[in-house]
Amino acid sequence: MERKSPVFTAFVYVCAILLAVVILAPLAWLFVMSISPAADLAAKPLRWWPQAADFSRYEQLLSRAENSAGAAFTSSLRNSLEVAGMATLAAVVLAVPAGWAVSRTPSVGWSLSMVIATYMLPPVALSVPLYMGLSWLGLLNNVLGLALIYLTILAPFTTWLMKSGFDSIPREIEAAAMIDGAGLFQTWRIITLPLAAPVVATSALFAVLLAWDEFFYALLFTSDQRAKTLTVAIADLAGGRVSDYGLIATAGVLAALPPVLIGLVMQRALISGLTSGGVKG
């Protein structure tokens, strides 16, 4: 190992602190805004720390009193949960057989490559026919319609992750079960899926993150509280005439909590999932 000079060590610590500040300062400020009284946020010079922490906005947004900011926020929260939940469940259900098929029969792999290549398409290239199609089906401003479209964003990723997961399960274990008389689905149930459970969980959480983040289709295809998702509700708040910036910040904190928690818990798995393609390829 290289012997590090004290100057170099000091340099490393200075850079590390700088990086931590760059990452944390905007996030900390979002939280501080959410608990600062409106007067503090409008003060000049700006007050960087509230005189008294004020958590009332959280209460306000999570209350369900009619026609309040809370009613709009909680309904969008519910819509986001529903859309993300339905789309993720469907994506995993499609991804398990498809991922297994590509893993065990590589000759059909080109079809998965084509499915993944759809990621390149800008959503605007599909938006007009999708708008007309959803309108024809009566699925505009409907969580089911939105979930159907999200499914096509999530499924390529989940299938790819499932395929990599199945690749690491030896075929011999499955073959042994089949020789003992187990059918395909029985073999999956008893052998393959229990072994692949961590990959299923990772790809499901990854799918939830993607669905939670989506904005473009939600903006186009939803118009009121029946289907508007969180991202649209927050964009409405940010672009609207809300005079209390703390309220916008509070909505941001609440919307960021689930994905941030998933990100922290899943750190290792997410990073290896994100990098596997890159490092191996």
């Binding site: 499915v115 026919p129 910036y245 910040a249």
Partner: protein
């Protein structure tokens, strides 16, 4: 079991996924092509065949050329900055220091933050009357008066790029860090013994390990930056004076604000073609880098 049965069964298992993808992506794409040759409106008239009119109109409009250059500028600057900052952060995180694991954990935060929340956060930071940036810069006596960072064509795009970089450079850093940790210790040690300086060690010993993963990150980030919509929509809606309008926002305005489905479709396909050309060019480069590294 025979090979044909295996293949048939594989296709049967793929079928549900393929049917959904064809129905929700394949069909709309084909229909967009059809629409692009008509003067269809978003609601009402089905439209008549107009040949390449929409394409020539769009390609020759000053709106298109200006938006194309804005988008290219956004993509090139933000992706380049993300790559450089990402690699530097990864080199730092590859050093040994106390708190390294915590710092690495923090890097996941901007990546996990929803894009719309990130855009909202920076919009608040840049706020012309109450924003933290104005407050911090005046309190440090770096500027005298509050400025409208997102309200002036001169600073709006740069402000957007900063917000985009903050969210995305940590991902590049994590990818680069994973690659750095795959560099065998004895190779770096040998280079050191041979008297290679820090720059040469990076260029000739470490960079070959980084090249492949970084290329993949570069491809994905460039495609995403070229398609950019969300962050711009929330922060500026393409303004002021269209100075931050990206191609995706132009298509949105054409097809949905002005309800011109036909010309919107042609514009969307032009964007798709540009992204595809980029992706293919990159894919070739990736294969070359992978080939030379191996």
């Amino acid at each position: 079991m025979s090979g044909t049965w295996m293949t048939t069964r594989a296709w049967l298992l793929m079928l549900p996924l393929l049917v959904i993808m064809v129905a929700v992506i394949g069909w709309p794409l084909v229909d967009t092509v059809r629409l692009s040759f008509t003067d269809a409106q978003l609601v009402g008239t089905a439209g008549n065949y107009v040949g390449f009119d929409n394409y020539t109109k769009m390609l020759t409009s000053s709106n298109f050329t200006r938006t194309l250059s804005t988008t290219t500028w956004f993509a090139v600057v933000s992706v380049a900055a993300e790559m450089v900052l990402g690699v530097l952060a990864a080199l730092l995180l590859n050093q040994e220091f106390r708190g390294r694991a915590i710092l690495r954990g923090l890097m996941i935060l901007p990546w996990a933050l929803p894009t719309v929340v990130n855009a909202t956060l920076w919009r608040l930071i840049y706020n012309p009357e109450y924003g933290a940036l104005n407050a911090a810069l005046t309190q440090l006596h770096l500027i005298d008066d509050y400025r409208s960072w997102l309200g002036e064509p001169g600073t709006a795009l740069a402000a957007l790029i900063v917000a985009d970089c903050w969210k995305n450079f940590p991902l590049v850093a994590l990818i680069a860090l994973a690659a750095l940790q795959a560099v065998p210790r004895d190779i770096t040690a040998a280079a050191l013994v041979d008297g290679a300086g820090p720059f040469n060690r990076f260029r000739f010993v470490i960079l070959p390990y980084l090249a492949g993963p970084l290329m993949v990150a570069l491809v994905l980030r460039t495609i995403e930056a070229f398609k950019v919509f969300d962050i711009i929509w929330v922060m500026t809606r393409g303004g002021p004076a269209n100075s931050t309008r990206s191609l995706s926002i132009l298509v949105y305005q054409e097809a949905f604000s002005f309800q011109r489905a036909g010309s919107g479709a042609s514009l969307a396909l032009i964007v798709t073609l540009l992204v595809t050309v980029l992706a293919v060019a990159y894919a070739t480069m990736v294969r070359k880098t992978a080939g030379s590294a191996a």
